[in-house]
Symmetry: C2
Amino acid sequence: MITIREADTKDFEQIWPFFHVIVAAGTTYAYPTEMTKQEAINTWMVLPEKTYVAEHEGEILGSYYLKTNMSGPGSHVCNCGYMVSDSARGKGVATAMCEHSQEQARQLGYRAMQFNFVASTNTGAIRLWEKLGFEKVGRLPGAFKHPQEGYVDAFVMFKDLMG
Amino acid sequence: MITIREADTKDFEQIWPFFHVIVAAGTTYAYPTEMTKQEAINTWMVLPEKTYVAEHEGEILGSYYLKTNMSGPGSHVCNCGYMVSDSARGKGVATAMCEHSQEQARQLGYRAMQFNFVASTNTGAIRLWEKLGFEKVGRLPGAFKHPQEGYVDAFVMFKDLMG
């Protein structure tokens, strides 16, 4: 049974080990691969509007943030980012978090959700977002520098939450 | 004769009058329409990597910023935003600034330039960016709340600078 709840500061001690692995790999997130723990806390826990954790028996399996994607005339669209601990893959944690985030977004008054920069090589994530109702609405040519594949396209993905 | 040079802090006194008019209109920029002068300075002059002004005989006719669009694996793509004083429209200031920005971006080592959020109602700008080699690479459905038109689509536009 996976529980999803709002994160508090001390949760980052359990988030950092998988956050660090994911970001250092440089294959999915548009964060500097050498990001420090303090920068990570700021990016993941401080700047976003909300941060959540998915846990099972006190162990944090994944985390996501939710924030406004663009301010002013764009502020009805939110953006989320999700990370799952390597040891918790294949248990539906990403699906549970993405569904939870859509419900939270609606409650916070957002009309849509946008992912700005999904590496085209990240086929597992793309398949999952499509299954959960997101569409590719843009293709950014060569915009993602993959450490093994070189310059690959990135997708913009979008879901209307009012449907 | 229009000259383009790097901005310094005191230039914002001449930028703010047109910046304020453009942002308060809410029809083009994803900034809060009630942005204060201090927030504007931070957004336009402090956070970007570079800020430039276009001037003629000491009068500032327009300004633009240049910054990295996405960090880490996305950091070879830059983003720019341009504003032209209402009194200087039709004089080629936006064209001059956009061409200047592409040259600066190349010199700074960027491989491409991306505009993240061009309101589909902003047809003059879209026509100009297309003329200058940008392509629509994405369409964000209803992502821009126009004060008169309601929810309109926004485009993602992109130009490869290495071609």
